[in-house]
């Protein structure tokens, strides 16, 4: 049996997310985009309303959502502003390695406090010379007694300057290993906020580790498990990234639709021109297709099944759909789509990153091909 209708609980959750977005995120999106300020007040409201840390298990104080539920809410929030939605959601990327490979003690020390008060954490894996090719990370962890000493530079770290702890991937004798590193450890230097093309509300910084001591009890899994932990995390988070991209598509469609229904050209409504209305029809269809891929990838994860291919498909496709929708929205708005007073240009700037972070589009295609190569035939 296949059922496409959301449950009453999912409907209620999505409606709450939508109301939150309309009240707090959408009206402030321009403000934070222009100032580049971290939206701490909105994160606090999200925390109070239970929208942050949705992955933390109940035994550590969380009220966990399924990945599918999370994707549905995240899509709503990204419709308001994907930068603010990223600030709210970025904890999940660093929490999941702990959920996946952490000991009970690590979960109590690092996850439980995040359910009690507003806190942030960051996933510190990317390096200047190692982006999509995570296996090239150079940050070293040298074992001295019961401690490890970390040295290296992490780059483009989301929530990097507001985090209380980092998930860090470093090499122990050439074996990538995961660590949880408290942000107040001596030797951690946080760089200034990067001025990126879009998602200005999201805090992205460089984090340098200079002789940072990490206790052995803060190592995640065994030495050499880090790469697997880092990659497995993406199976969990990529549907969420796709959902964020779907939020941009939904915003672009809604803005273009609202504009086209009211703007008049050649003595008729803009939407009455077939060239415009077909754009809207295409945007709607692509959004639905991207959503179904996203929900399928999320659902597979919730069922405990391998979703690597589906998550890669969803992330790649949703990102391309969002980019296209943002450009089409700007086209529907004409000259107004090119001004900074209208939300369309921001969508273009924000959409681009979805084709890059958490594995660029090309990496997603490599994952899909790798899966295809193991198949005799596609059913």
């Amino acid at each position: 049996m296949m059922d496409f209708s959301p449950s009453p609980e999912q409907t209620e959750l999505v409606e709450r997310g939508r109301a939150f977005t309309k009240e707090f995120i959408g009206p402030n999106s321009m403000k934070y985009d222009r100032s580049g300020e971290f939206p701490r007040d909105i994160c606090r409201e999200a925390f109070n309303q239970g929208f942050m840390n949705p992955h933390v298990p109940a035994e550590y104080g969380g009220s966990p959502h399924s990945v599918l539920d999370h994707c549905m809410v995240l899509e709503e929030m990204a419709t308001g502003c994907s930068g603010i939605a990223t600030a709210i959601d970025a904890n999940g990327l660093s929490q999941y390695p702990v959920i996946l490979a952490g000991t009970d003690d690590q979960k109590r020390r690092f996850l439980a406090p995040m359910t009690e008060q507003l806190m942030f954490s960051a996933y510190a894996v990317t390096e200047p010379e190692a982006g999509s090719d995570v296996s090239r990370v150079k940050t070293s962890a040298t074992k001295i007694g019961n401690d490890y000493v970390l040295n290296g530079i992490k780059w483009w770290i989301t929530n990097g300057s507001v985090a209380s702890w980092y998930f860090v991937l470093a090499r122990v004798d050439d074996r990538p290993t995961g660590f949880i590193v408290p942000a107040d450890s001596p030797g951690i230097i946080r760089g200034p906020k990067e001025i990126n093309l879009g998602q200005h509300a999201s805090n992205t910084v460089r984090v340098t580790f200079e002789d940072v001591k990490v206790s052995e009890k803060d190592r995640l899994g065994d030495e050499g498990d880090g790469f697997q932990i880092a990659m497995k995390t993406f199976d969990h988070t990529r549907p969420g990234v796709a959902a964020g991209a779907n939020g941009i598509t939904k915003a672009a469609l809604n803005i273009a639709l609202s504009y086209a229904k009211r703007r008049r050209t050649f003595d008729k409504k803009l939407i009455s021109n077939q060239g415009i209305s077909f754009k809207l029809a295409e945007m709607m269809t692509r959004l639905d297709a991207a959503r179904y891929l996203t929900y399928k990838a999320a659902w597979l994860f919730d069922q405990g099944r391998d979703n690597a291919r589906e998550a890669a498909e969803a992330k790649w496709f949703a990102a391309d759909v969002a980019m296209n929708a943002a450009i089409e929205c700007s086209q529907v708005l004409g000259g107004y789509g090119f001004t900074t007073e209208m939300p369309a240009e921001k969508l273009i700037r924000d959409a681009k990153i979805y084709q890059i972070y958490e594995g660029a589009t090309e990496i997603q295609k490599m994952i899909i091909v790798a899966k295809l190569m193991r198949m005799r035939e596609v059913h």
Binding site: K22, I25, G26, A251, I255, S258, R262, R263, E341, M342
Partner: protein, 237 residues
Amino acid sequence: MFADVRRITARIAEKFKRRFYGRTFNCPVCHFEIAVVDAGKNRLLVCPVCGVVIDIEEVYGHAVPVVLEVELFRPQPKARVHPLATHVPIGLYPFAVLGAALLLVASMARPFVPELEPMLTRAPVLADATLVLLVLSVGLSVLTFASGLWDWNRRYRRRSYRQIRLKIAFSILFLLLGGAAIALHASGAVFSGGSGLVDLGSPLSVALAAVEFALLVAGMVVIATLGHVGGTLVYGK
């Protein structure tokens, strides 16, 4: 430090603006910040600066303004009384505040700096000049207020704009604050007629001096806000 002061001031101003204006959007033509609530039930409004007719709709909290028309015929007052009248109080008032501040500082410094004594013989003149400046700035602001109301009636056709509401409310507040400061100053209870200084031996005199100075500073904030909001109505953003 100046950056911190500016940031804190900007945050207070932003909070106040949000409370008074509610949600806003920028006119896509002249960038003037318009309160969504000014659009009314039919979602239509005319930008007070550039005159475009805007249909405003909120989508997921994003304001999506659509320009439908341009209001071409917008009467300009023949004699531009308001723009001229508005600069007189704004120009005179800070000097009145400065005069009162100097008198206060001189009153407090007098026991500790005997070298000031020869200069303090001129204090009554400064006290009188301060009063004249106050009377001129607050008195002329009545003309500014009246001409502003006239412009609102003629040029803006009595349409409801948050900025104009704020200007009306703040103009009344300025008149009240200025009137109270004039009354205190003219009574001689703060700056005595003989010395022109505050009598530090009298607690009542000191308290009244503090009240007068607080009224003047509050008036300064109010008139500066009025000038800033008026400027946005002329130049847009």
